[in-house]
């Protein structure tokens, strides 16, 4: 799992927008010395996210709140979140090819490494944050009792994995590329190949679940769930890019997928105690 690191663009290098990073201890939010009570997060752009009611994705019809949500600036209840250390992780947690496989075996399918960086809206890295992923196997079948697709289970593939970003926000895991599959919605709807992501960030306001899609997949643009996102521009940010430079030769191709979480509002008075 070390190969992508060798080929990564250096943080702050030409391919990375520049930012000023405050010194911080592992586990602390960048800028963590600021008073937490006087600042809040950028409000979530609800025109960028999918709306609650998206009738072409039928399940949303009965599960979408109909009244306007209550808006208020974040408080300490939203500006804090649980902490997970690397002691949570087992040695194979970030290797979906092997973490459910019998000894000496591995999952069947195109081997890939997925890697990228988690930053906030101000392009500050989000270090030490837990990422959980889940997916179908290479045939498009989930290991779940409610799953009815006729494609077979892979006895050596469970479908879950997790990792924690490093001090610069980088993460990586190894898996097999999932297959597309049909699902009950319209008479012939198919999900594009995708990997589900759950990301914690450093504040409950940043909590996010989304999905990764794969560059060049024509199924992306036919999917009613992808279509809940209002703009093609936003959808494109969920499409992982093939990165041949980060492949592990004779082993696995690499896809890069960067994640942006909500950012804390910066003020010109960062060291002044506000509020309290």
């Amino acid at each position: 799992m070390t190969a992508p690191a060798d080929d990564r663009p250096a943080p702050g290098g030409e391919s990375e927008p520049h930012f000023t990073e405050k010194k911080h201890s592992p586990g602390q939010t960048p800028g963590g010395q600021r008073d937490k009570f006087g600042n809040s997060f950028y409000m979530r752009d609800r025109a960028w996210h999918p709306p609650a009611l998206t009738p072409l994705y039928k399940t949303s019809v009965a599960r979408s709140p109909q009244r306007a949500p209550l808006s208020f600036a974040t408080t300490i209840s939203e500006e804090t979140s649980p902490v997970f250390g690397n002691d949570v992780l087992g040695p194979l947690d970030n290797d979906l090819i092997h973490n459910f496989a019998k000894d000496g075996a591995g999952a069947i399918g195109p081997r890939i490494v997925v890697y990228g960086r988690v930053v906030d809206e101000a392009n500050r890295p989000v270090p030490n944050t837990l990422i959980e992923v889940w997916q179908a196997n290479a045939g498009g079948r989930y290991r779940h009792k409610k799953e009815g697709y006729l494609a077979p289970l892979d006895p050596n593939f469970g479908g879950c994995g997790r990792c924690i970003t490093d001090e610069n926000g980088w993460y990586e895991f190894r898996t097999v590329q999932p297959g597309p599959y049909p699902w009950p919605n319209g008479p012939n709807d198919w999900r594009p190949a995708h990997i589900h992501f759950s990301i914690f960030g450093h504040a409950f306001a940043q909590r996010l679940i989304s999905q990764l899609y794969f560059e060049g997949d024509p199924m992306i643009w036919q999917c009613p769930i992808v279509g809940t996102i209002p703009t093609p521009e936003a959808i494109e940010t969920l499409v992982a890019k093939l990165d041949m430079g980060a492949t592990i030769p004779m082993d696995a191709r690499a896809y890069r997928f960067d994640i942006v979480l909500r950012g804390k509002r910066q003020t010109l008075f960062e060291n002044r105690m506000e509020g309290l």
Binding site: R63, T75, V133, G158, A203, L208, S210, Q211, V260
Partner: protein, 205 residues
């Protein structure tokens, strides 16, 4: 000096889908041996300080049908009002309390259960105290963006009346949707309605 106001756009949300339990509570859905236990299954990890309580509830859709494929997370302060977080600057939270719980709901009924402690009050931004509350986050198939809300305690009438967020709500007749009701000793029920006359107040926060 002019600040650079260029900002990146947040990664857009997508539904957690029908198989969120594979990723977040794999042991619950019979994917054993990958993780030793499901994260968030215990908030209390030792000899915790405070009143032990149980939170139970069900998430209902607009037809009144319970959701059986949701994932419910809670986040709360300890009994002294401190969060177990690196961003907590006011003190150190109870080491035997994580403050974070995650429930896949009961396989047959969808009912979620959290064994926890009653949280202490925490301050609002201006220093006023917020009434004791538990943050809820609900994701499921058909929910395109995770839903934030709060559970308050019906038996904290005085603190609730002074709460800076509850008092700001225009439709005060909806405030009861945020109230957990004490059923028997130590059990609070907090049902969540995604739609309908009893639709829970969700937060854009």
């Amino acid at each position: 000096m002019i600040r650079d106001v260029t900002r990146l756009k947040e990664t857009p949300s997508q539904t957690a889908g029908p198989y969120v339990h594979i990723g977040c509570t794999p042991n619950f859905c019979d994917i054993g041996g990958v993780y030793p236990h499901d994260l968030g299954s215990k908030l209390i990890t030792g000899d915790v300080t405070g009143e032990r309580i149980t939170i139970k509830g069900t998430v209902f859709d607009g037809t009144g049908t319970p959701l059986k494929d949701a994932l419910i997370e809670i986040w709360q302060a300890d009994s002294a009002g401190l969060y177990n977080s690196v961003n907590e600057t006011r003190g150190t939270a109870d080491a035997n309390f994580t403050g974070w719980g995650r429930s896949p709901g009961d396989m047959d009924t969808g009912e979620f259960t959290f064994e926890t402690v009653k949280p202490g009050a925490v301050p609002f931004r201006d220093g006023r105290m917020m009434a004791p509350h538990v943050t809820f986050w609900i994701v499921a198939r058909g929910i395109n963006l995770g839903l934030h809300t709060r559970m308050y305690f019906e038996d904290e009438a005085e603190a609730n009346a002074a709460d800076p967020i509850l008092s700001k709500i225009e439709h005060q007749n909806r405030v009861p949707t945020l109230m957990a009701r004490r059923e028997e000793d130590g059990v609070y029920r907090f049902d969540i309605h995604l739609q309908g006359a009893d639709e829970t107040i969700f937060f854009d926060v």
